[in-house]
């Protein structure tokens, strides 16, 4: 019996020791220290609008990020605000859905910011908040997801989803012309299909292809994650044993799409990405994968939104324009990044 219990305690000691050891080892493994990606800020040049002026309190809210693009939005906004000595930056976590964001914004208003910069979960659901804040005299800068009501925002700055599709299709059509492909087989890996932005991207893509007389042979919708991108791409490649071009809506999920292409040993087509992540740009520069171009939807718009919010707070206009005030709407153009111009864009990759 004593022999038995000693055995047991020794076994326990061994197990316990192993568990503690594994725990210590693992805890050491959560570090992710690397050279941080440089945030996309605009350095303050001397003179003009960049001169420190009246103090501005900017309130900021964006959804809790679950992928790279939204994370980059928040990081850029923070970094841009830090670049100004006259800006006080107040950030509230927007939580997981529109209701949580509305609650968080309530606490933000009570802190009396001069301007609010807001990336809503859903523009329609937070329209009422925009109206309320504007009525209370706080200008609202809507970032990327539009409010339906024009009175709900002072400035709207957003990317061009339809334009992304147009840019991707235009690049493909040029390539087909250059290579003399008259009847190309085109694949498309979309993002989350229930989002309006995905539908706009696809519409821009198919509309532009249709003008050239081409159509999409097969389209699969992934979920903006690398693993879903890999799975959908693997099935798409199976469906199209020969393909000429592939457009993938999002570079984050593109990591998985490129992986699936490599796993299937396919090289006969070229691929166009979307959004403009750092990894995609590096792949384009290295030119050793099927990824030959990407069309931008840059989170640098968050930096611009903070810069413009500051000008609105200080009652100034954009110095390059004649107008004395900041315009009401700014839509970023979707640019096409290829091997030729990638070096200019690398600093904007996220």
């Amino acid at each position: 019996m004593t022999q038995h219990s000693r055995d047991l305690s020794r076994r326990r000691l061994l197990f316990g020791g192993a568990a503690v050891g594994a725990g210590v080892l693992l805890a050491g493994c959560t570090s992710n220290e690397a050279s941080p990606t440089e945030a996309q800020t605009k350095a303050a040049a001397p003179g003009g609008n960049a001169e420190p002026g009246q103090r501005v309190v900017i309130g900021f809210s964006a959804p809790a990020a679950d992928h790279g693009w939204i994370a980059a939005i928040t990081n850029n906004a923070k970094a841009q605000a830090a670049a100004y000595s006259d800006v006080e930056f107040k950030i509230v976590e927007a939580g997981a859905d529109a209701a949580a964001q509305r609650a968080a914004l309530g606490t933000l208003i009570s802190q009396k910011p001069n301007v609010i910069v807001l990336l809503p979960h859903d523009g329609k659901e937070l329209n009422a908040f925009g109206l309320e804040a504007m009525k209370a005299g706080i200008p609202v800068v809507n970032l990327d997801r539009a409010f339906p009501d024009a009175k709900a925002y002072r400035l709207q700055i957003k990317g061009d989803n339809y334009g992304m599709g147009v840019a991707a299709a235009t690049y493909m059509i040029e390539q087909f012309k250059a290579k003399g492909v008259s009847n190309p087989i085109i694949g498309e890996i979309a993002g989350m299909d229930e989002l309006e932005l995905t539908q706009e991207r696809s519409k821009g893509f198919t509309d532009t292809l249709a003008q050239a007389g081409f159509k999409v042979a097969n389209r699969r919708a992934a979920r903006f994650t690398a693993d879903s991108g890999q799975q959908e791409a693997a099935q798409l490649l199976q469906a199209l044993p020969k393909m000429d071009a592939l457009w993938n809506h999002d570079d984050d999920q593109g990591i998985g799409v490129v992986a699936a292409v490599n796993q299937a040993n396919r090289k006969e087509f070229f691929m166009v990405g979307g959004a403009g992540s750092k990894k995609a740009m590096e792949d384009i520069q290295a030119d050793n994968t099927v990824l030959k171009a990407t069309v931008t939807y840059s989170p640098s718009m968050a930096s611009s939104a903070i810069a413009l919010a500051r000008l609105i707070g200080q009652n100034k206009g954009m110095s390059d324009l004649v107008e004395l005030q900041v315009p009401k709407e700014i839509v970023l153009a979707s640019e096409t990044i290829t091997k030729e111009n990638v070096s200019n864009y690398l600093k904007l990759g996220f």
Binding site: C29, A71, N218, R220, F224, D227, Q235, Q238
Partner: protein, 376 residues
Amino acid sequence: MSDTSPTATPERAAQLPAQSPPVDPAETAAASEKTTHGGATAGRLSWWSGDSGEGAKRNLGLIGVLLVLIAIGALTRSDLYSNPDWVWDNVLSILKLASVVGVVTVGMTFVIIGGGIDLSVGAIVALAGVWCTTLATQSYGAGGMIFSALTVGLAVGLVNGLLISYGRLVPFIATLAMLVAARGLAAEISDKQTQVSDNQFINGIASNSLLGIPLLVYILAAVVAAGWVLLNRTTFGRRTVAVGGNPEAARLAGINVKRHSVLLYALSGLCCGIAAIMLTAQATSAQAAMANLYELDAIAAAIIGGTLLSGGRGTIIGSLLGVIIFSTITNLFAINGLSTEAQNMVKGGIIVAAVLVQQVQFRSLTQFLGRNRLTT
């Protein structure tokens, strides 16, 4: 449908090794071992049927469904199916698609047979995947990555099990909490970014083949084989069925029900750790949002594979067939260029149909048909 109700269906009661008067658990298990082997000599049960004729018929039905799906594919895309090389490639691509969820489903099948449920599997895969692709872990090489994924999976599973067994939380709530918490921790560790794996050995798991068959398929086969042996040929497996079928009877028979439940959740966590390595290899990256809704895929596969959601019955092979049926549907819709929405509706329909079919007991159906002279 309480598990402790004295009016348990005879079918389920028959599955219990503890039907004989309570004896030493080891002896009970040994006895049930003997009955399994005895059955094998008497009726020579097929290798894939486990130990019940019901399961065999169910699996035959699933294979039928699979053949129908493949036939639909061959009819609608006869141009592709006429090329034997493509067909072989396609079979492998279906199996590769099934591999990750398949491994998760093996663990899930054990948990469900044992009378529980694990909603946190997708989150555990994400957490283990993120944990093993941090730059610090990657610096230890492939061994360090595999070790951390497996350990994280196992540890989270253990926490689940301890909360359920000794904290007396309902499995649904405990694992739901873990689902939220593990994804939160994964997002915290990864800083919401996609972490790219630069390790060629890990990435090679998804791209390399041995004798023309992808490594992922070997891993799936190994896990399924190990799961089958564990469920059908060991004391652990017999106890799992006993605990799930009637926990009170199992306790009276001398089985440590609480400790057994902890082990079941730990097993499920370990499977998630293995799946995390496979998924990371496939996507060459990991992020907090990966393995989205895998818990539902795994539960659905186990259910259509004939596992009883209230526990006490289920087969590993049935679950595997369930996973393969789902990935065949995905493949079928992809090669026909149909939308994901339609595919999800069909998946939903198949789950409902499978459960409906299960409610019609095969035995009573045959009796019914016999009574009405519909069969000879």
